[in-house]
Symmetry: D2
Subunit: 345 residues, 4 copies
């Protein structure tokens, strides 16, 4: 903790020094012409800095400790590899997760899954419980959707990730899904994070729509400190003033998070742009930037999709994209993971 | 729904027209030199526009219907007044809610409550379940905090609002609190909104930290369509690039929401600025802009607060502020509601 | 300057210490378990911190010196008062500047000016050189507009402020205007700032549409260090993700800037909201927050305005507003300056 | 132009229809239960929509015409190729521009230029007139810097781009530089744009730090309509709430702008991230996303740089990067342009 004081009186400085000592810490004080800088090292509770900001003469308090521990690369130098069945995130291969925004029917999901696998996807995605901005929008097939995903996943031989939005539903969703997704709107739904941490399933943690990198890693810390050891981060676009795109995909988060943390990072160019025309270029860019995976919305007939049609690729577009991704992956020393039965054969 | 097409072929135009008719709607088509504009009126489902965006030749789809109905002033011209016991939001008086960020002990909350009432507060606030960015931060006294708030509220004779963060806790919190708060992080926690809508308590719905006005009103629509009839909106600052303040308090949301909706709007200058020095000026500004209430963090000794000390007013500061607010309220034809036992006597 | 190092080797620490000494400064080093903190006090050049960020082991560099000097309240404790003829910004009275976005004709400007003065405006605004997003939009009457403003200003007896956008036009505009405005788009047009600083006219410096408070005060520092001693700051809304309003008016900038700086701050609720319905409430809020002036767009027939009609008040609206503002000003211990011939008589 | 009216009275509708006809346009009116939609096709002046927003009953006005013409792909289907001497932007090759933020001395620039060329750069960058946030920061070598750049550029045989910040300096800078850069702060400095448009040099137009895609293309329109026919756009990061990076590099702007416009787009990952560790991954990502060029800050000894050291690559880093870029370019069917004397031999 570093406390910067602005032209303090001796009494103001002494009050700060006393308070530091009262916390059991040792202060070091450097008096300049205008500013006085008081430094203390050693673990401090996250709240403590705030308590000094209100003291007279204090200009600001700078925290020096990284607020996340288990998520930090500082204490875990090697990349973590998170396995979902035989799909591995954080290793050389870059798995592609594909599927529709929402599961609409057995036929729709099966057709999508077969095409996804055939094009080289390593894993399936689909929504059963859809968090929708409007209460009047389609909210997902719920339990029926979970059953369809599990059945089709087993049939085609690919694991399935789906979102869970309610702490009361974590047990149920865990029975049907191989990986649990925390959506962007729920990144700081701490009741949900705590419940998911106990579920014993790998977790895909999306970045909140206006979350800083640090808040995102703190949400991962909730999962890791709560009992989960398998967390994959997912960049999916942040909210900015630009409204030509649905969100602004922050690809610099990929190398930045990999610098700060050992956790794998995947990218969602579908929500990240909201526009199918941009999904291909941004998927290629994500792989070139070092992403450990991709999650892409595809639909057999996007113009009939019950949600997110504008950002969904057709099955043919997706097949074309996986070919391009394989080339970019090779250019950066990686491969696209095509799953057991995929195009790599 | 308005569909703008960019130099479409006749086939492209016909496909759009056919699809509109297939939805049971009547299209009107206007062909210009470059652009073709196809318009249809009548209620459409919120998803429908998306399904047209993917069709060839379509540049964009503009929705004309207001997506919220129950929250809209269009269908409810008069201001709604929401009562919490005898405190009324949306009427001439402007109630002030005051209290600490977190309930820390009976003594702390009681001292705060007595001073708040004496200064003219109409209602108490306090946190028992605290959503904290860090899992290592103080998370609130939980059940014990609820009991303290209820006991002190009854003792001083003021109603109490507190946040609920977990759908499983809605029943419990409703037993102890007079009003339920949905915090900014949970504005789009739809599982929570649905449960709170059924609780039979007035609701204080904070704006999400990066929520648009429309998303905020849609969250209110979840409450209203789910069974709640008493919703008060709360502007508490939005996230911007400016980081001198914790958030940027968007006071223009007050007159804007009152133009669009019949619901009362209160302002939280404490979270909205994160800096106690700015709380007073922004509280005065909120009243001048037409706010229907204020919610202000106060603490008997802010430099020892377990959370949000930097933005908390001392009890003396708060007393001074309520005097200033009374003058500003009078200047805009309103009064500060001082509660039953307050300074108005 | 504070340098935070993350688990540095002794060689890394020594390299930093040597480089500090090489700059002629004295380092103080505090070694903790993970972090090493090196502090130095004394004036440093603004670039210097950057040179340490690249050294191995350095996590970040925190600057402790305020980068603006002449604009800072630290070295100028009293409020500055800036006079434009007999209109004073920063004193007890709160002058209101009013006028059309663009000067369109002698008749339009004269009718506006007479009504503005009659309603109590202290000063006139008008645009002759209009920075427009589109090259095909009306760019202002240019020299002719300047002449109209000067003639009408003299006729009605109110000083005039107008924007200058080109360093080559500073001399010309200074001949016709009583105060020079630097527009939001030009806040960091340093060639223009340097020229305006030499013009010998008071300056109204608008905040850039995405400028931080610090960047804004640094732009003022360009003016003050360049020879200008009379600078008035103007908050006019910042760019955020919210697009219901044209900008988000950051009223917290008013008390914040007044805490950091001695310069007067006025508010432009017209550009700050882009919507005439919000201008009145936000003008009242600005006065309640402590603004030292207002600048408001008015037009005799807004639906025919050549620019910014949607945010312009009618002359009748403006008259009503100044009455309301007088009441709010009184509530916060100030007055609305009605100019020599205004309603105060 | 589409005018959406909300439950208008017949008089309100007629007023709108009359005003449209008064503009010489033909209205088409569709009356729904709540909303009335009035549509007109045909070119309208950009201001016209605003004049309808103020009419009673009008909810909003939607413009359907693209506001930029010369920059639009709609009227220029093929990619434009912009040549700077023998370097071509917008063709198959992807030229890399490299050099220091600021020219500091002949030796520094020459050493950088030789290394840049040797590593495969096609063009040099360097700053002589530096727009700096602080008036106390190094402002560039000015005329001396221009001379150094021209001399070294000729010596090593690479063209040079440098920023011009003042309309009065356009002639001078054009004598020394092969390409003129409009910096982010000056993207809407229209006086400068108009002067640069007449200079007869290719222009590199950086996106403003908070500019929308549309505003950026409108700035290009100023250049194109003012006489310049050779404009290259440059994405360099936008301002967001995230402050771990200096800016948020918006790579989705690359495919988006190439969809909307025929102009080449280059990417500046140095300013776009502000952190040398992120420059390599984001440069690779830019090429994968379809960028037509890169502009990268390099410095022989970044920890001594007079500006932007933290984001500058060392010469060795840059050499390594160009090798990686060549592989990524090949993966997307392009090449890195190594200039006449570069590594391609």
């Amino acid at each position: 903790m570093i406390i910067v004081m602005n032209a303090p009186t001796p009494e103001q400085t002494n009050r700060v020094l006393d308070k530091i000592r009262h916390c059991g810490l040792e202060p070091h004080c450097l008096v300049g012409r205008d500013k006085t800088i008081i430094t203390t090292v050693g673990d401090t509770e996250p709240e403590r800095g705030e308590q000094f900001e209100r003291l007279a003469g204090v200009e600001r308090v700078v925290s020096v400790n990284t607020p996340y521990k288990l998520a930090s690369r500082q204490f875990h130098a090697h990349n973590s590899v998170v396995a979902v069945n035989d799909v591995r995130f954080g290793a050389e291969a870059v798995p592609v997760i594909a599927g529709p925004c929402a599961v609409e029917s057995y036929e729709q999901f099966r057709e999508t899954a077969l095409a996804a696998k055939d094009a080289g996807a390593a894993m399936l995605r689909g929504g059963a419980f859809k968090p929708r901005t409007s209460p009047y929008s389609f909210q997902g097939l719920e339990n029926e959707g979970l059953k369809i995903m599990q059945a089709v996943g087993r049939e085609v031989g690919l694991p399935v990730v789906t979102e869970v939005t309610d702490p009361r539903a974590v047990g149920l969703v865990s029975e049907f899904a191989d990986m649990l997704q925390i959506g962007a709107r729920n990144m700081q739904n701490f009741a949900l994070l705590k419940e998911v941490a106990l579920a014993g399933r790998p977790v895909l943690l999306k970045r909140g729509v206006a979350a800083t990198i640090e808040e995102w890693l703190m949400a991962a810390e909730y999962l890791l400190s709560g009992g989960s050891s398998e967390v994959v981060l997912c960049e999916r676009g942040i909210r900015t003033y630009e409204n030509y795109t649905r969100n602004t995909l922050d690809l610099s988060a990929v190398p930045l998070v990999k610098h700060l943390s050992h956790l794998p990072v995947v990218v969602d160019p579908s929500h990240g742009t909201g526009n199918w025309r941009l999904v291909g270029p941004m998927a290629r860019a994500a792989v070139a930037a070092g992403a450990d995976g991709l999650i892409i919305e595809i639909h057999p007939w996007p113009e009939e999709a019950m949600s997110d049609g504008p950002q969904s690729l057709t099955l043919a577009n997706f097949r074309q994209l996986t070919r391009e991704l394989a080339k970019v992956a090779a250019a950066v020393g990686r491969t696209i993971n095509h799953g057991k039965g995929g195009a790599q054969r």
